[in-house]
């Protein structure tokens, strides 16, 4: 079946709403407008305004209300337009959603799912373009998902809704229009394991490319081109940034002996830093080269196309890092 990431997301929402009447979607413009990225288009007509609930512009208020509704036995899916705006709801996400189970000594679960877009590449300027999911991955008590593929766009939501704990789903804005084949009967997928999407044949120099979310397509393209240069690649899609499935990473690095982490977040204090640290802590003697990182330049993401592109990870930068890792020159 031909579909898009956006349609897969919508199918996941529809499916969840049909399966469990406690599920409802809440956020700014999710109803009459159809969702600011058109993910929920048409769902208002199907499920009505109680369950496709438009909210005022009050991120902290409605995210907090979602947390309260989860405490009250509902299964809210709260949409925040972009990760930048989620900063207005940080108090609720971090001080309440992530802590209530622990502070209550295990008495109060918060089974909320919070979805938001992340990432740059559409010339929207700094306040609409940042990748802050790595920050959220810093917080114990949250589960952080980054669906990069159609199967994950379709399948992660239901699994997230079954999770008794708060789950944040980050959807990269550049992925919504990605089209491809998805099984007609595609459904829920696991959210515990990273995916090895491509495996090096081991005949030549090899390197593991580690990424997630919006940078996966460019990493796959880089992998194709590197193959043409005789560099074999493992491609690991992290899928879940917290808790990290370090096993899959280490298994791959044990085979390829090199790693490049590609992350649209800034380098300093990022999820790429965490991954590089884990590899050096746990696989130091497997490594034939320092871990490479391809991250965004440490500037607020600029508007002008050439500046924005210069700030973001690119196929070229990934390839250069992979070449450096295998000693083929950068």
């Amino acid at each position: 079946m031909k579909t898009t990431y956006r349609e897969a997301m919508r199918a996941a929402l529809r499916d969840a709403m049909q399966r469990d009447e406690r599920v409802f979607l809440m956020g700014e413009d999710v109803g009459r407008y159809g969702g600011s990225f058109a993910v929920s288009l048409g769902l208002l007509e199907e499920f009505g305004p109680e369950r496709i609930r438009d909210t005022p512009l009050s991120e902290s208020g409605f995210v907090g209300a979602g947390i309260g509704a989860a405490l009250g036995g509902m299964r809210p899916v709260v949409e925040i337009m972009t990760v930048n705006f989620s900063l207005l709801a940080l108090d609720q996400i971090i001080n309440n959603a992530a802590t209530l189970l622990h502070m209550s000594g295990g008495q109060f679960n918060v089974p909320i799912v919070i979805r938001m877009t992340t990432g740059a590449g559409r010339q929207l300027g700094a306040q609409h373009s940042h990748s802050l999911e790595g920050w959220y991955a810093h917080i114990p008590g949250l589960r952080i998902l980054a669906p990069a593929t159609l199967a994950d766009a379709r399948g992660m939501l239901w699994t997230a809704l079954q999770d008794p704990d708060p789950v944040l789903i980050f959807e990269h804005g550049s992925l919504y229009n990605v089209a491809g084949e998805l099984d007609e009967d595609a459904g829920a997928v696991g959210i515990d394991k990273a995916a090895l999407l491509r495996q090096a044949d081991g005949s030549a120099d090899t390197v593991t490319l580690i990424t997630y979310g919006g940078t996966l397509p460019l990493v796959l393209e880089a992998a194709d081109q590197l193959a043409g240069e005789g560099i074999g690649t493992d491609v690991v899609d992290l899928r879940t940034l917290r808790p990290l499935d370090t096993h899959t990473l280490l298994d791959s690095v044990a085979r390829t002996h090199r790693a490049v982490v590609v992350d649209e977040g800034w380098r300093s204090g990022s999820i790429s830093a965490e991954i590089a640290a884990r590899i050096s802590e746990q696989a130091f003697f497997d490594l034939d080269a320092p871990v490479e990182r391809v991250c965004s330049e440490e500037v607020p993401v600029p508007y002008a196309k050439h500046l924005e592109q210069a700030a973001l990870p690119s196929v070229e930068r990934v390839m250069a890092a992979a070449r450096r890792a295998v000693g083929a020159g950068g």
Binding site: R22, F24, E50, T55, P56, S58, S60, G61, F62, V63, G64, A65, G66, I67, G68, A69, A70, L71, G72, G73, M74, P76, D91, Q92, N95, N96, L100, L101, H102, M103, S104, G105, G106, Q107, F108, N109, P140, G141, R143, D163, P164, D165, G190, I191, D192, K193, T240, R242, P243, L244, D245, T246, H247, T248, L249, L250, R278, E281, Q282
Partner: protein, 351 residues
């Protein structure tokens, strides 16, 4: 409106009950101060002394299935909602017998059995939660009420306004109880708000709101009953501004440089416990021996609770990583994080 001053006490039995409730809170917290000074309990400790009429009056009007959200000054709310003094004190001791197994402490008391949702130390942080709890009740068609307590300091936060708007917009069954004790730490109301009439602010959101003498437990109860009934019968959110005063410092660390002792003394003349006690005595409803019995009863309850807490067991350090994520049978994930500090899912599943 029934007030202690103008009408005496209508129902002696009920008044006795309210007196007991207020006294329980008072004695529990006096004990907390003692235990704190003896370094038995630690952390921030905020006592409610002087404000007991608010929790006592409001809690009286709730059904067991209603929900309560409170702040860090919540010992009294927890106790009067039905959490035992023993579980509260054990929590402050960091013991496994505490209502949150030592993870919450004084500022984070929670209790699922009584639907007591904290215990929130972020000023205004509980307001959106209350809105959401009420939303869940509304969507599930339950006739329940969520009551949210917060100080007047919260009124300056954005979350207050977002919550008022959402609750009114969606006509949710929530009762907001602003405990206006005139100070947010050292900041007097007049120095933090351009409009100091708080009920008026709520009214601006089309929420029925009224101000109540928060030292008069009967007045509080009557107002709360009226509001809770209205909320329960589908009248949407209601708002009470309870005008009260804390007799003690903000917390145990507060040197109280911001107010005159004479002001405190003046308010203490309206001590809610003495006020009710005096009115009952004047009406011949509180013979000396009953008053003595009541005090002895309450003292006994508190000293039993101290014994319970004192003899509790420290929550074991081996349990540290529990309750970060839920315990679950299948511990599929989080491979390879040994030594990374993220083994909590495993810790949870094992424990």
């Amino acid at each position: 409106m029934t007030t202690l001053r103008n009408q005496g006490v209508p129902d002696a039995g009920h008044a006795m009950h309210l007196l007991r409730q207020m006294l329980r809170v008072r004695r529990l917290e006096e004990k907390c101060i003692e235990l704190y000074s003896a370094a038995k309990i630690r952390g921030f400790l905020h006592v409610y002394i002087g404000e007991e009429a608010v929790a006592a009056g409001v809690m009286e009007t709730l059904a067991p299935e209603d929900a309560v959200v409170a702040t860090y000054r919540e010992h009294g709310h927890a106790l009067l909602r039905g959490v035992s003094a023993g579980a509260i004190l054990a929590e402050m001791y960091g013991h496994a017998e505490g209502c949150c197994r030592g993870r919450g402490g004084s500022m984070h008391l929670f209790d699922a059995a009584t639907r007591f949702y904290g215990g929130n130390a972020i000023v205004a942080g509980g307001l959106p939660l209350a809105v959401g709890l009420a939303l869940a009740d509304r969507m599930a068609g339950r006739q329940q009420v969520t009551v949210c307590f917060f100080g007047e300091g919260a009124v300056a936060e954005g979350e207050f306004h977002e919550s008022m708007n959402l609750a009114a917009l969606w006509q949710l069954p929530v009762l907001f109880c602003c405990e206006n004790n005139l100070y947010a730490m050292g900041t007097a109301l007049g120095r933090s708000e351009s409009q100091t009439d708080i009920a008026l602010k709520a009214a601006a959101y089309e929420i029925p709101a009224w101000a109540v003498d928060g030292m008069d437990v009967l007045a509080v109860e009557e107002a709360a009953r009226r509001a809770v009934d209205a909320v329960r019968s589908g009248g949407g959110p209601h708002f009470l501004e309870l005008r009260t005063y804390r007799f003690r410092a903000h917390s145990m660390f507060d040197p109280e440089l911001y107010r005159e002792k004479s002001e405190v003394a003046q308010w203490m003349e309206r001590d809610p416990i003495s006020l009710l006690q005096g009115a009952m005595q004047a009406a011949g409803q509180l013979p000396d021996d009953e008053w003595a019995d009541l005090q002895a009863d309450v003292d006994a309850e508190i000293s039993t609770a101290v014994g319970f807490a004192e003899n509790g067991t420290p929550e074991p350090v081996s349990e540290l990583a529990r309750f970060v994520y839920s315990d679950r049978a299948d511990d599929g994930s989080d491979g390879g994080t040994a030594g990374s500090g993220e083994g909590s899912r495993k810790g949870g599943a094992a424990g």
